[in-house]
């Protein structure tokens, strides 16, 4: 029993928190750093009022579900990773011990949401909104039961290859065949949940900005800020792409391509990564009067993502990387409010990104 718990703790829980330190830092900053005390998500004042609102409670359940998907995806990837194939041996433990191990693992991964569940339940009790306690507790129970059922089966059975994988693979091979696009193939295949959640978030933010402040009722600055925010939310995907390139595609460094050639490939790659956002910005604001500004905006977005990518060659740890991304975001947001010539800003960002790439790409 102890051997099983020790292995699950080291292989799953510790790795999860180490890999997501940056994510928790950002969430912590958003929850406490930029909130006033009355609207702080954990303040008694806020929670006493919020637990009486079904909209709030169901929004919290929605956020829990997104966080659960993140944990679920991590656990699945860990169990299926080639270096963790030995975990199939855990199926030989008695079922109750295996389930207990999985339940404890789930509880540790889901701990931030569980703490918030306890807070909500406490204020539900205080305000005599007992249905809130019932709903959040049952929801958490459902999630834990699903984890036990799904991963219990993953470990004890030889899981057949899914038919959709074959369809996906053939589609990938046709569309993302060029080696430059292999990182996108990696995202589609191995980082599906991260890719999906990032795109939901970035398109949601962009849609909100463009529908709350529509052109021509407002000028284009909200659209610019929405697009900038959507681009910056790709930061974790950009990091995954760079890690993939520097591990699985490390041979790429040895191929005789000049640096400008490599940089151009990155621009093509990131342009394709931003295709959904580009389509949305062009569709929702399509107007002959704005078309040139929107094209400049798209180029600006690609220059921002290229700069974020080149930051990774400065050998920053994840915390420092996310801090830099945040500073760049705030700086550019202020610039955009001043309505500067976008093409000039784009050229400057591309030049900065290329100089960093040129200077640091071959520094080991």
């Amino acid at each position: 029993m102890i051997a099983l718990l020790r292995i699950l703790n080291k292989v799953v829980v510790q790795q999860f928190y180490q890999l997501n330190a940056g994510f928790f830092l950002v969430v912590f900053f958003l929850s406490f750093g930029i909130q006033q005390s009355p609207t702080m998500l954990v303040s008694p004042y806020f929670l006493t009022g919020a637990v009486t609102s079904p909209v709030f409670i169901f929004s919290v359940l929605g956020v829990f579900l997104l966080y659960y998907l993140k944990c679920f995806n991590f656990l699945l990837k860990t169990i299926r990773a080639p270096e963790n194939e030995y975990l199939f041996i855990t199926s030989l433990f008695p079922r109750r011990i295996l389930w207990l191990g999985l339940a404890l693992t789930h509880l540790q991964l889901f701990l931030p949401a569980l703490v918030y569940t306890i807070l909500i339940s406490y204020y539900g009790l205080q305000t005599a909104y007992y249905w809130v306690i019932g709903v959040v507790t049952s929801y958490n129970l459902l999630l834990i039961l699903y984890t036990l059922f799904y991963f219990g089966r993953q470990i004890t059975q030889t899981i057949p290859e899914a038919a959709d994988n074959i369809i996906l693979r053939s589609g990938e091979k046709r569309i993302l065949a060029h080696p430059v696009l292999w990182p996108l193939r990696y995202l589609v295949r191995q980082e599906k949940v991260m890719l999906g959640l990032t795109k939901i978030l970035s398109l949601g933010v962009l849609y909100a900005f463009m529908t709350l402040y529509p052109y021509p009722k407002y000028d284009l600055r909200p659209t610019f800020i929405g697009f900038l925010t959507a681009v910056v939310t790709q930061a974790m995907l950009v990091q995954q792409v760079q890690q993939f390139q520097e591990t699985a595609l490390v041979f790429w460094r040895q191929l005789p391509f000049p640096r400008w050639h490599r940089f151009t490939y990155q621009i093509i790659l990131f342009s394709l990564l931003l295709v959904p956002e580009i389509i949305m910005v062009l569709r929702l604001n399509f107007n002959p009067a704005t078309i040139s500004s929107l094209i400049f905006l798209v180029t600006f977005g690609i220059s921002v993502i290229s700069l974020i990518y080149t930051l990774l060659y400065l050998k920053l740890n994840q915390e420092a990387y996310l801090k830099w991304v945040f500073f760049i975001y705030i700086g550019l947001l202020l610039f955009l409010l001043l309505h500067p010539p976008l093409y000039l800003l784009t050229i400057l960002l591309f030049l900065l990104a290329y100089s960093l790439y040129y200077r640091y790409y071959y520094v080991y």
Binding site: E83, E85, Y86, F88, I89, S91, F93, P160
Partner: protein, 212 residues
């Protein structure tokens, strides 16, 4: 010991192995075959790591696909290129395998001493390929299985350790009636083992070459 019935293994649409009807008796078996012939796939199927079509029975009673837990209790696998997370120690892995397979109390300690592996308290990332191979062999020998699959067990091992592996195979075979399927490219080394039969994986199937 092993019975194959209408066995097929595909990767996507590509047929890798097809064994319509075959019996492998208990004993020590050497599985030969060129690189890419399907030996490792066969071992991973028998080890319960990848799915297949058809039926494989162990001792005429355990259907490997329908009874995955019984299957894993009776068949141990030592992989050709063992891979473990670099931050775990060998000791942690051995403890896990020993508890899961309900190994006899002192078996793990005996195996650790036998293979002279005094480095197992260190993280796996510090091991050389030979050290890693020894760890995977210890894990493969833990428990009391009916069948042990050893995929290229002699690769990367020094001569002294190769002798230890042969002796251990003979000992498990005579004392506990454990059967072995072993793949190896070293013809000379395999001749030192008492073999029940030699098999060849070729043209997407498994055929018997000789019986001792």
């Amino acid at each position: 010991m092993l019975t194959f019935r209408n066995f097929n293994k595909y990767y996507g649409n590509h047929l890798v192995l097809s064994i319509p009807e075959l019996q492998i008796p208990a004993g020590n078996h050497w599985i030969k075959g060129q690189n890419g012939s399907g030996k490792t796939t066969l071992f991973r199927v028998l080890g319960g790591l990848i799915p297949y079509q058809g039926n494989i029975l162990l001792n005429q009673s355990i259907n490997l696909q329908a009874q995955p837990l019984l299957h894993r209790r009776h068949i141990n696998l030592g992989e050709a290129a063992p891979l473990y997370p670099g931050f775990l120690t060998g000791t942690e892995l051995i403890n896990l395998f020993a508890q899961a397979r309900k190994a006899p109390a002192d078996q793990a300690t005996t195996l650790i001493k036998y293979f002279n592996t005094n480095y197992l308290h260190q993280p796996v990332r510090t091991y050389s390929s030979g050290m890693l191979k020894k760890l995977s062999l210890i894990l493969a020998f833990i428990g009391r299985p009916s069948l042990i699959l050893l995929d290229e067990p002699l690769a990367t091992l020094d001569t002294a350790t190769v002798e230890l592996v042969y002796n251990l195979i003979q000992e498990y075979n005579s004392k506990h009636q454990t059967s072995f399927l072993v793949t190896s490219h070293q013809d000379a080394q395999m001749s030192q083992l008492t073999l029940t039969a030699t098999w060849l994986v070729q043209n997407q199937t498994l055929t018997q070459l000789s019986v001792s």
